[in-house]
């Protein structure tokens, strides 16, 4: 920190938190918020890469993506969306009370925001465990402890893609820990009703038999789960970073750092938190909801 020898010759009042390189609080606030927005812009491009991957593969294999979406627990996704929206509200109110210099409300609302953020991660953990137990981790070798192959609960009505030897479910073993998927009913439905994409007409079929190939369909569902884990994983990582940020903010707010004149750290942490919320606003319909009508509507 430079000495304030220069400033001491000036008469004007220095608000708390004003860094010496800025003329006044307004200039500092604008610089700070534009810096934060530049960071958020690159975050948008960061997630944008994954959204592009999603766009490419979903436009090619919509049925495999619908199959994956239908396997996700929509109730958990829905609850998590609400949890994040509530946390965004408490975050916005934290900024509001920081601007008012109300220390107690800031502390209370930051703790609430952290609680909702932690709830989100807890629900995410339950979901990830479920995928792990069903052998849906798209990495060969990581599914050795899968308790049951995916699609067996909902496959009472659905036909398995190839001849599954019944009676083997109890002593189900997966020595190589491969990705598990046995339900091709959505590919069959799209075939019957004639809305397979050109890529699907090649990607799902065994060229030798001209039939839908369960292994090839499984590989496309596996792409979906790879994207699911990459996108929600990166999002969860952002939540963890957000919680660390909130811990720091909580300490600062506890110390009574923020006032009507100096609240930008709260505002900027809020921008980050809301950004993470916005990412989820898109992830929820894209990963959990799209393709659900194929099954919900008398599939």
């Amino acid at each position: 920190m430079a000495t304030h020898a220069d400033n001491s010759t000036h008469e004007h009042y220095h608000p708390p938190g004003l860094q010496h390189q800025f003329e006044d609080m307004k200039q500092q606030e604008e610089s700070v918020s534009i810096g934060m927005w530049m960071f958020l812009v690159q975050e948008i491009m960061f997630f944008g890469g994954l959204f592009t991957v999603y766009l490419v593969f979903r436009s090619r294999y919509p049925m495999a993506f619908a199959a994956g979406s239908n396997h996700l627990d929509v109730v958990m996704g829905f609850v998590n969306t609400l949890v994040l929206i509530v946390s965004s509200l408490t975050m916005a109110l934290t900024v509001y009370f920081a601007q008012k210099g109300n220390r107690n409300m800031q502390v209370l609302l930051i703790i609430l925001t952290m609680l909702f953020g932690a709830t989100f991660l807890g629900v995410k953990y339950i979901e990830y465990s479920d995928k792990y137990n069903h052998g849906l981790v798209p990495v060969t070798g990581w599914n050795r402890h899968a308790k049951a192959p995916a699609g067996h609960e909902e496959s009472e009505t659905a036909k398995p893609c190839w001849e599954v030897e019944h009676g083997h479910e109890e002593e189900y073993i997966n020595p190589k820990g491969e990705f598990q998927w046995h339900d091709c009913s959505l590919a069959k439905k799209a075939e019957t009703e004639g809305f397979l994409t050109p890529a699907e007409k090649i990607g799902y079929y065994n060229p030798a038999t001209g039939q839908i190939d369960g292994n090839k369909f499984r590989d496309k569902v596996r792409i979906y789960f790879w994207i699911y884990f990459a996108m929600t994983g990166l999002h969860a990582l952002h939540m963890i970073v957000g919680l660390i940020l909130m811990t720091w903010l909580l300490i600062k707010a506890w110390q009574g750092t923020f006032s009507a004149e100096y609240y930008m750290p709260v505002e900027m942490s809020g921008l980050y938190w809301h950004f993470v919320d916005i990412v989820w606003i898109f992830l929820f319909p894209l990963l959990y909801l799209l393709g659900r009508h194929f099954i919900a509507h008398g599939g």
């Binding site: 918020s33 812009v41 944008g48 490419v56 965004s88 509200l89 601007q99 009508h293």
Partner: protein, 113 residues
């Protein structure tokens, strides 16, 4: 926006106040519920192919706009912030468009298997 909190001296009121925040929150919750309900209806066969996707994305965009304008205070932010926010989506659109024009114009065999 118009508020009569006399304790606020330093800044103009650059937020919508607690009732406003609660209102935006209510809109977001309603948006989430509507997205969920609509996702279970088969709009593809009622309207046109891809209608489900379009509706889901429109609602998501609407919710995002609410969060950005009011929770993130873009509504009261300098022009440069507006430019950053809108510009980032413009670049995102370029990325999507140029990627898809590549994939849509490939022969299905190149990336089909």
């Amino acid at each position: 926006m118009a508020d009569n909190h006399s304790e606020e001296q330093h800044h103009d009121e650059q937020h919508i106040g607690i009732p406003g925040y609660l209102g935006v929150f209510a809109i977001l919750v309603v948006g989430t519920v509507v997205t969920y309900i609509v996702a279970l209806r088969d709009l593809d066969s009622v309207l046109f192919h891809g209608a489900n996707t379009l509706v889901a994305l429109l609602i998501a965009f609407f919710k995002m706009s609410c969060v950005m304008l009011f929770f993130m205070h873009v509504r009261w932010s300098p022009r440069l912030v507006w430019l950053s926010a809108v510009g980032s989506f413009f670049w995102l659109a370029i990325m999507f468009a140029f990627t898809m024009q590549d994939y849509f114009t490939r022969g299905s065999g190149v990336f089909g298997g």
